[in-house]
Symmetry: C2
Subunit: 361 residues, 2 copies
């Protein structure tokens, strides 16, 4: 089936587009009442992830409301450790938790090798179904957590304020840390390739917690393993290149090193000025981002001003996928999302430099 | 009284020192059993802050155990909004909270103007007493929270995961936001000058939450007000320059702009490579930092390796005050702090480049 809207893929290839493509991290999520209804039907969060029909349903929900230029598989960043037997679950109002944790080098050695097509078949089934249901409307993005991000949750057993157990592990047991990250990198590469074969037309690696590390620790324990994954990914599928986006939250200091991994796109959180990011790495990769998700709590007028300001900071020319700098939060008013998406398309269509008056209102 | 150990002040002036000076943010704190004992006698945290004798006692406690090269006033970053009538309190196991919050432009207009010498006399009494008790052993550092950091707590009423109320306030009411930050900047400058007159020999501004902002918002709502404070500080007292250190957590992207405020020292969190920071701004300012506080959970051997690696990254020559990249956390083993302090002095005394073998063990 021919892709009707390929702006997102073209922008990642740094080819010209008519208007700047836009999607939102966590666009299928709790801010949407229809998502909350489906989630309720599914029972808990993992049951929703593991049911391809329902995962497909929530993936498509935001596209029915907004003119997003891409769909992203509804799933969780932590499916791999769950399939390795760590027992992922979500308790109401808290983040992810694992029943088993990694506390010693022996725990790392005991981790099984995954076959994602067999052990995470529900994800591949969801990818195939979503592709079929999309009918070529927009491309489908697959994803995984980064090895370091998976490792932090596996060691801590949950999210953490300071991730001290995870850090203590790599400082006190660097070899076991590398063994763990190597196992995870292999699993993530296999998993993303399986998603691509099942229909994902681009993939994103979420390095949610790379930014909590020192520069040398980030390069050694997070980026090195994302580089290994990028090198192992299928480059082309169905006659098209399959771009890969790396997103390290709070990774603004390391953009040059991230761009040098061979990825096609770099996700930016909102702390970075996207114009400065472009002058640093825009010759090598496309940029994705980077509005502060908290701006969606402000008035539609303030949202429009901020969109205009980010488009102006990026400047004219190709290579920009508009997004938030992190996932949308549950309390956002869905009408504000419409203001956001429409502003991206409106201001980017009107020429390379949105006038500041367009940002008002 | 003559200062017996002026390494810290000399390093901030980028003058040569025999060994690299070291202190720790939150060095008088809960990781010390003697601190917990005094805190228990005082009752709650604010009663400890407001009792000059007890504040002096806990300020001096870490100096009795470790060879720190500076003392820092025991107080809280949020004393100013408390003195403005916002009602600061601490509930057990949680962060700071305010009884009153800023929710509208009218709330900003109603904030009173402070006279720190009158309204925060307990802080000045503590400064004078600590100076007397120190007897010239090491210099005393005074401090305050930055205007933006004070504003986030005043608007949210507490700490926050995403500070969405504070951000919504500045996006929806930028003029009232600037009025609030201007009032706070005036109060912080007056407050730090009062601390200097009462005995503080250097001051630090803690911009704990500047790093949650986008680049343009940081420059407009946080850094501009710290620049205003720096411009209003007493430059010399008791015949010595009084250096000012600006510390924006997660401010690594903005080091050039921070250094251009006219401050003498820039505090670095652990995400920045201190060698790269030095090549960016080391010609203008001294650098303070930057070991990840979580390294203190690792073994003494790992702590020593990390200290050696940071000293090597900074390289030879003056202008480095060793510190953590953020405050020490309560669960750290006090023996590990000794390993940290001793490693800084030992490795920096042995020449400009600690051999990697010195870092082992």
């Amino acid at each position: 089936m021919k892709l009707k809207n390929d702006r997102f893929l073209r922008a990642l290839n740094r080819e010209p587009v008519d208007i700047t493509p836009v999607w939102m991290m966590r666009q299928a999520g709790r801010y949407l009442p229809e998502y909350r209804a489906t989630r309720k039907r599914a029972g808990d969060f993992m049951s929703l992830c593991q049911n391809p029909q329902l995962a497909c349903e929530v993936t498509l929900q935001p596209l029915a409301r907004y003119d997003f230029d891409a769909a992203i598989l509804f799933s969780d960043i932590l499916t791999i450790p769950d399939a390795m037997g760590q027992g992922l679950y979500f308790s109401e109002g808290e983040g992810p938790r694992f029943r088993k944790t990694i506390r010693s080098p022996g725990d790392v050695e005991a981790l099984p090798r995954l076959d994602p097509e067999r052990d995470l078949s529900y994800v591949m089934d969801a990818c195939s179904l979503i592709r079929r249901e999309l009918g070529g409307r927009v491309p489908l993005i697959g994803f995984s957590g980064s090895p370091w991000t998976l490792a932090t949750y596996m060691i801590e057993g949950s999210g953490s304020k300071d991730f001290r157990r995870a850090k203590q592990f790599i400082y006190d047991h660097p070899e076991a840390g590398h063994l763990l990250l190597g196992k995870l990198a292999g699993a993530v590469a296999d998993y993303l390739n399986a998603q691509i074969r099942a229909g994902a037309q681009a993939v994103q690696i979420f390095d949610t917690w790379g930014g909590i590390l020192s520069t040398p620790a980030y390069l050694e324990f997070s980026l090195a393993y994302m580089r290994r994954i990028v090198a192992g990914l299928i480059r082309e599928h169905e006659g098209r290149p399959v771009p890969c986006i790396l997103f390290t939250k709070q990774g603004g200091l390391w953009l040059e090193q991230i761009a040098a991994t061979g990825c096609q796109g770099v996700g930016l959180d909102w702390s970075v000025d996207i114009g400065q990011a472009r002058s640093r790495i825009g010759g090598q990769v496309a940029l994705q981002g980077n509005m502060d998700p908290s701006v969606l709590y402000a008035s539609p007028g303030a949202i429009r001003r901020e969109v205009a300001s980010i488009l102006a900071a990026f400047g004219p020319g190709p290579g920009h996928v508009f997004n938030l700098g992190h996932g949308i939060t549950p309390q956002v008013n869905p009408d504000h999302v419409a203001a956001f998406v429409d502003a991206v398309h409106e201001f980017s269509a009107s020429g390379s430099k949105p006038a500041s008056s367009q940002g008002g209102g």
